[in-house]
Symmetry: C2
Subunit: 205 residues, 2 copies
DNA sequence: TGGAAAACATGACGCTCGGCATGTAAGTTC
DNA sequence: GAACTTACATGCCGAGCGTCATGTTTTCCA
């Protein structure tokens, strides 16, 4: 009946900590940043307000930790899928698909919530910027490994264009824009990217 | 010393109404949606809470009105600048610049705040969707008039790709990404768009 | 095995929010 | 110019927020 699990202190700590961070992400996705309250978070995590008080001195610190937790998850997700990509033109198209998948999932939804909130919250902004930049650079590195024949600055251009386009599309998806149109746009962009890729590899300056 | 202005009721009404809506937009831009409170709004508008109570039954209604007010402003801004564009390839590049200017200004910042908030607020979402769709279609119409030689579905593709890319870049700008990189990406995209434009007009299928 | 310390629960405090009831001033109508 | 409607101001209320002070349980260590 009762729990007889003997957990070490470190285990207890880590367990409720990740539970809180996961609950925070869930909250961001479900109800948005504005209505993500401490009580809502610890209600989802199944702990009391005292717990979050014990682990994080203030709500801002919780959010900062959530940012890092979130980025780590996203980074892992992108890295594992990007590493098993074919090279060449088909690899470019596949990479775009993966970037779209990564930047349109629930994790990125939470990131967007935090991003927009961070615009007017210097503290949160300071917490987000470095981890986000690190995520971007790490992902870029994986991508450039895939498209190795391309001049580096060309690959970087294609990458950032794809990322920003994808983020715009993700925003469109959030409000319920036409999914079919997004599909068409993504297909079109893949065609363009492959075309540019072939041009650049065929006639290197 | 004292105000001797004799305003008609309609004038008074319209005046404080637009003052409230403008103040709402200011609030969204300055402090974000989460901290855009009624008292903050009417403090900036120079009126009391009773005023907003009189004009709008609830805060949601104020926000809905702000959405329309905002969209009207954006629409006007885009329309006037898009109408005096040259045709041909230089026109395409200029149009992209204008779209970027439109979607990266303060007005669009406010729109983004509302958008993200609307994701988890069905009421706000219902208010935003129609006006945003109308804005998109109206802008598209102006753009297709500029690039008249292009097949319509081609022009539409280029337009939506530009819009979504621009929105992604605007998000990047909000968090303080590298402005120089954004400039480079925009230049690159203009080159690509002009290239695609020339291909499509030179060899129509 | 008992006491220290860490992990968590509970309850209360001050604050701000949105909404409402009520009062006052400005404009309209006859 | 007096009754009436509209436009706005003032003050209050209950609810929810983040934070803190203080108990209670669980693990650790000697």
């Amino acid at each position: 009946m009762t729990e007889t699990t003997h957990r070490t202190q470190a285990q207890r700590r880590e367990q409720t900590r990740t539970a809180l961070l996961d609950a925070t992400i869930d909250c961001l996705v479900d109800v948005g940043y504005a209505r993500t309250s401490v009580q809502e978070i610890c209600a989802r995590a199944g702990v009391s307000k005292g717990a979050v008080q014990h682990h994080f001195t203030a709500k801002a610190e919780l959010m900062a930790a959530a940012v890092e937790h979130l980025t780590t998850k996203l980074r892992l997700q992108l890295a594992t899928s990007l590493d098993e990509l074919p090279g060449g033109g088909t690899g470019v198209a596949a990479a775009i698909d993966l970037l779209w998948a990564g930047y349109s999932g629930t994790l990125s939804t939470a990131v967007t919530e935090l991003w927009v909130a961070a615009r007017t919250d210097p503290e949160l902004r300071a917490a987000i910027r470095p981890v986000d930049r690190a995520l971007g650079r790490a992902t870029l590195e994986h991508v450039t490994q895939v498209a190795g024949e391309l001049p580096p600055e060309r690959a970087e251009m294609l990458f950032w264009l794809t990322v920003n386009l994808t983020r715009g599309l993700a925003l469109d998806a959030e409000l319920g824009g036409d999914p079919n149109r997004r599909r068409l746009l993504l297909e079109e962009w893949k065609r363009i990217a492959v075309l540019l890729y072939q041009d650049a590899t065929a006639a290197p300056s």
